[in-house]
């Protein structure tokens, strides 16, 4: 009996162990496994290994809001236009684009293209997708990208109806869109993922088609199809043979691993597990930038984005223009870029980045790092505030928690202390909290970055057209608003650019923000990778990428 009991007990233990081991999952046969065979044999297969930082927050083009999702969407879907490697729109799903005299009506003729399930891509698919995105019930964060279309804003904010949105499928192959104002960058917009079509037949039957990227209902019309998705682990894209331009797609397989840590991604790249590092998929670890610069592999491209500190002009201290001016001038942008951000960013001189047409040459709205001028402004400001010494200024600098933001903030904080004698306190909070704080206007000086969705100055200037929304400065100016409204109606490109430049000058003369730098896109890639570079918006079109064995 005891003998039996004893054996029984050890058997039980064994059973527990075995079942524990059986439950083990080392993920040996998961999709990412194929990543290893990439560099090896086979001149038939062309594959590339990339990494992104997390699961895409959405697989629905209309719900995507981030570069991670966007990079995948651009491969699996295709809009009316697609940006070429230089960032210029070229016809894609649209074979022909006809614009009316007043530049308000666009008529698209679609080419014969197929969804990955064989259905033809129709004008109805576009109409369906755009109206779906605008439907407030679907809560698309980026629906505002469609506001250029007549009736779109009203429908999205619950004041209009779907029928009033001026997008119509005239027939299967003809799509007609009417805009509120002349929009010179509309061709660019139609390349943006919010404007992508959705297979309306499938989507009407299965409203949840996008929640299972591995399911048979997940259908795209882009150069690649989504082969497999393993949460937190990998996404595998395969070439879409039924894509209309399949002959010009070189890659057969794209392996995308989810690697959250920059340091890990860097090591994987150094070990040859990844072929590309950088925007828009992930970020190159700051610590490696010097190394990549030295061996000449770092690719730097200007990006349509501005890193800035916003001043809350409703704050007791920050309402003073001279204080804002002093703080803005005193920032040593060159030193910051050279030593801290290291990415060959351009010193921020204004609101609109240098990638924009007509804004290529920086305008000196203020002298950067001119300590004398800054002190002068500071003295004036202090006097206006009735203070005698800079140390009496109580200023707090807010930023969202991140090592990069912290480093920049510490650099600038120290500069303000040494050059102006202002001891600024630091206040960091998590992203979700930070956004609420900015919205509520609880900040004095706050970090902010704006990356353009399309390469037009309006994308930046519009933020400060009115209070609310993304205007975290609470600054408004009637003249400025008027200029923007006028520019929206202007059809002459030159005159329009001038108006926008005038608006920026008004903006910068009152210092509601301290521009710090204009973003650059940094990337490195393996020698064998060809044609892989990002456009000014930071997108990489995998469609054009090739591998040379």
């Amino acid at each position: 009996m005891t003998c039996f009991m004893k054996n029984f007990r050890s058997l039980l233990l064994l059973a527990v162990l075995v079942s524990a081991l059986a439950a083990c999952n080392f993920g040996g046969d998961s999709g990412g496994g194929e990543a290893d065979s990439a560099g090896g044999e086979g001149d038939l297969e062309k594959s590339i290994n990339l990494s992104i930082t997390s699961d895409p927050p959405s697989f629905h083009p209309a719900l995507a809001t981030d570069t991670t999702s966007g990079a995948i969407m651009a491969s699996v879907f295709e809009g009316l236009t697609r940006l070429d490697p230089e960032g210029n729109p070229e016809p894609a799903m649209a074979e022909n684009i006809e614009v009316s005299e007043d530049e308000l009506t666009y008529t698209y003729t679609l080419r014969d293209a197929e969804w990955s399930n064989g259905d033809p891509v129709t004008a109805q698919d576009f109409e369906f997708a755009w109206k779906w995105a605008l439907n407030p019930e679907n809560a698309s964060d980026y629906a505002y990208q469609l506001y250029y279309i007549q009736g779109a804003e009203a429908y999205n904010t619950g004041e209009g109806s779907a029928e009033d949105v001026a997008v119509t499928a005239v027939d299967d192959k003809t799509l007609e869109v009417t805009l509120n104002n002349p929009t010179p960058f509309f061709d660019e917009l139609t390349a943006f993922y919010t404007y992508y079509p959705v297979n309306s037949k499938v989507a009407e039957e299965n409203p949840d088609w996008h929640t299972d990227p591995n399911g048979e209902n997940y259908i795209g019309n882009g150069p690649f199809t989504l082969d497999s998705f393993t949460s937190s682990d990998s996404i595998v894209l395969k070439k879409n043979d039924s894509y209309w331009d399949a002959d010009n797609v070189a890659l057969d397989t794209v392996n995308v691993d989810m690697v959250e840590s920059e340091a890990t991604a860097l090591k994987m790249y150094q070990a040859g597990d990844l072929d590309y590092l950088g925007s828009p998929f992930n970020t190159i670890d700051l610590n490696a930038l010097n190394q990549f610069k030295e061996d000449g592999t770092l690719n730097v491209r200007d990006q349509a984005g501005t890193y800035m500190y916003v001043f809350n002009v409703e704050d007791e201290i920050m309402q003073n223009e001279n204080i804002r001016k002093a703080l803005t001038i005193a920032i040593d942008r060159e030193g910051l870029i050279e030593n801290v951000t290291k990415g060959e960013q351009k010193p921020g001189t204004g609101l609109v980045p240098l990638t924009m047409e007509g804004f290529e040459e920086p305008t000196e709205y203020f002298p950067s790092n001119d300590i004398e001028a800054a002190k002068e402004a500071l003295d004036k400001g202090l006097e206006e505030l009735g203070l005698s010494d800079p140390s009496e200024l109580k200023i707090s600098l807010s930023y969202n928690t991140s090592e990069a933001h912290a480093a920049i903030a510490q650099f600038i904080q120290q500069g303000w202390k040494e050059d102006l004698g202002i001891d600024v306190s630091m206040n960091n909070s998590e992203w979700q909290v930070y956004l609420e704080e900015l919205d509520a206007g609880n900040h004095q000086v706050g970090r902010y970055g704006w990356l353009g969705d399309f390469n037009d100055p309006v994308n930046f200037l519009e933020i400060y057209k009115a209070k609310g929304g993304n205007n975290n400065t609470n600054w408004t100016n009637e003249e400025y608003t008027q200029l923007l409204n006028d520019a929206a109606k202007e059809t002459d490109p030159k005159a329009r650019t001038q108006m926008l430049k005038d608006a920026e000058e008004i903006f910068m003369s009152e210092f509601p923000i301290a521009p710090i730098y204009f973003y650059t896109n940094l990337s490195v890639h393996d020698e064998k990778v060809k044609n892989m570079k990002s456009d000014p918006l930071g997108n990489v079109q995998l469609k054009y990428v090739d591998i040379e064995q």
């Binding site: 610590n287 030593n339 928690t401 090592e403 912290a406 510490q410 120290q414 206040n427 909070s429």
Partner: protein, 309 residues
């Protein structure tokens, strides 16, 4: 067996002089006091002594280090990521700050956090564990279950709320660390008390009418001291660690202040190009924790009556 060589003895040797019991008593009483004995045994323990000296050096460094250095912890000197040299003894970081200075400022903060958290844990944990262990029954059950539940509540949520309610800084950090940190101490104390409370001398004291407070103070705590001390020497590293983890999540002490946790966190991605940024805070964390462990073990051995021979 008998010794034959006794002839040289004089008859006068056999004079009866009586006993000297008083001498034996004084001899017996001459034994050293309890704490004297403990410290003597502690000093004889080489490892413990080394630990103690290490700790002393680190604390002296924390006090004097920033004061010796010609730089301040937040001063950016324009020399970025410099290897250790004559000017910057421990090198500089990515903002050109002197790591020597920062490491000792960090020592102040990390050791303070560690000690403060350990002391709060000690007070709450010992009180909670002692009451639970001594009362027993339902009360014990309920008290320990409360402790169980506390450990299951998402810790980060609590920390985030604390950091928002109070301004980020040392104080909320210490509270956050102590919030669940005491549970372990309570468990250890309780199990020690349970072990001790049925022992004869405690029962004897009880029959003599000692009340609970007296029992805890006089009999139980001194005997549970060894286990409590060891737990405490482990609490301090845990606190330093948790602080490092919170720094990893960006919830550490606010910049530009430094703690070892934030420094290690900033330094580890630079392992390839500026290893000194991880090395110095890392080595100091290791040394400190080694020292606490050695001192704790030494104290335990010195206090443990069973090892007294």
């Amino acid at each position: 067996m008998a010794d034959k060589n006794v002839s040289e003895l004089q008859p006068s040797d056999f004079e009866i002089v009586g006993n000297k019991t008083s001498e034996t008593e004084t001899l017996a009483r001459k034994s050293i006091s309890f704490w004297g004995e403990v410290s003597r045994r502690f000093i004889k323990n080489k490892l413990a002594l080394i630990g103690f000296i290490t700790l002393a050096i680190i604390i002296i460094g924390a006090i004097c280090g920033p004061w010796i250095s010609e730089f301040t912890y937040r001063q950016q000197n324009g020399d970025y990521n410099m290897a250790p040299n004559g000017t910057y003894w421990f090198g500089t970081d990515d903002l050109g700050r002197d790591i020597f200075t920062r490491v000792w400022i960090g020592a102040r903060i990390s050791i303070f956090i560690g000690f403060a958290a350990a002391i709060i844990d000690l007070i709450i944990g010992v009180a909670w564990g002692a009451v639970a262990g001594l009362t027993g029954g339902r009360t014990d059950e309920i008290m320990m279950r409360i402790a169980d539940i506390l450990t299951a509540i998402p810790y980060l949520l609590v920390v985030i709320i604390l950091l928002v309610v109070m301004q980020p800084g040392l104080f909320p950090m210490i509270i956050a660390l102590s919030l669940t940190g005491w549970v372990n101490m309570a468990r250890i104390t309780r199990s020690e008390i349970l072990k001790l409370k049925n022992q004869e001398y405690v029962l004897a004291a009880r029959t003599l009418g000692a009340n609970n407070l007296h029992l805890i103070k006089r009999h139980l705590l001194p005997n549970a001291l060894g286990a409590i001390l060891v737990t405490m020497t482990l609490t301090i590293p845990t606190a330093i660690f948790t602080e490092a983890f919170l720094s990893y999540l960006g919830l550490g002490v606010p910049a530009p202040l430094a703690s070892w946790g934030t420094m290690a966190n900033d330094g580890y991605p630079a392992l390839a190009n500026a290893p000194w940024r991880l090395f110095f805070p890392g080595v100091l964390i290791c040394l400190t924790i080694f020292a606490f462990n050695a001192v704790g073990d030494g104290l335990r051995d010195a206090l443990d009556p069973k090892l007294r021979k």
